[in-house]
Point group: C2
Chain length 221, copies 2
Amino acid sequence: MASIAAGKSIVSDAFGDKRALRQALLALQRGPISFQRNNIIACEGDAVDYIFVVVSGVLRSCKTFQNGDRKVIAFYLPGDLFGWDDEESSFSVEAASDAVVMFIKRSGLMVLAGTENHVANILLATTMTELRRSQEHALLVSRTAKCRVATFLTDLSKRLGCKESIDLPMSHQDIADYLGLTIETLSRAITDLERSGVLVRSSSHRKLLVQNRALLANATS
Amino acid sequence: MASIAAGKSIVSDAFGDKRALRQALLALQRGPISFQRNNIIACEGDAVDYIFVVVSGVLRSCKTFQNGDRKVIAFYLPGDLFGWDDEESSFSVEAASDAVVMFIKRSGLMVLAGTENHVANILLATTMTELRRSQEHALLVSRTAKCRVATFLTDLSKRLGCKESIDLPMSHQDIADYLGLTIETLSRAITDLERSGVLVRSSSHRKLLVQNRALLANATS
DNA sequence: CGTCATTTTGATAGCACTCAACGAAGGTGG
DNA sequence: CCACCTTCGTTGAGTGCTATCAAAATGACG
């Protein structure tokens, strides 16, 4: 598979291309490994010593409560790297679609960060990006359903590269759990946006055509 | 004021006590500066080149929307340091109570982090702590009002040092905005907890007596 | 004691959830 | 190729939680 072959270089790309650094990173890499949708990559509470690099597909980080309901903390798209939260992960990491993932040994990377300033900077910058996203997300989940959905679609569109159509790479259930909504409310919000002339559903439920990006942006506030 | 005098040492404490490092940090420090409640320390959109260290009191990081409603992203208690999100802050930083704050020049600290491994580690660790908190917060705001309040009180109690009484260092309005509730719903949730025998209100609205910590923990789920 | 800010309580309305049924798409086997 | 099944998404009716609006109570402060 082409995307698997791309795995190695994705890691190097993320951290730059100095020869010595490349060598050091190679030693820390594992994978790439393919996962089918809904496969569990790391379990909540596991002591994970690996950082995840998404090669293709989408991962979700989520938490399931005793009463059975689940919440999605974040989605990770190709190119994203994440997972140095702690010794033990507080959330489980799962494949939201078929996905290919590279792994980097965290402890080794930390040592490397000690000598390679560049690596330390990337770790910090990536963590800050994720912090920012998480904070925006926390803001989002206490607004109206329509606003949450519009914002989600806008952000996703940006992260996917701003085409006029949005191919949802995860299920409605995943999106609903991410936005703190039920799938019914999510569906109704999309219907609502459709009626407002913002977008059109395609026959495949996974595809949305944005008709009026200004209106969509409007719905985010 | 004693707390102001403590400002300098708080910064050194956070970063360790090697003589050379202490010297370098001293050069980067500004303050301590006192702020009255509701004073704005940094405005949303400002290009802030300073990291904040809370000496005493409580700071809030928040965002105000066009329609006028405000949301609180996070509270920062004495000893917390934060604020290296980016070149321009996406949220405003304000005093939630009378507070004393130290400032550290960010750009200088970043340079220092390049040579001082120790400093880089602290930056990363602190950012990760905040990320973790933000993620938990995002989870929280889509649960029931009672659960949100109970969880908030539990967490605050932990951060303040787990006494049997909780002195709320911020207004109900701040808490409500943090939890994505109205002050009315917040008040009703507290009344609810009181009726369940979890806690008792004291005459001063800012003080709560936890009667049954197990019941409080129970209400968080 | 009076004023102001803050918190609490009450009545009502609205938004999102729950439960239920239907529809659409994709896969499997005959 | 079609019937069947399963999964996923959509739509509808009714309920419940939280917001809104309004007013009273409490505490802080001069």
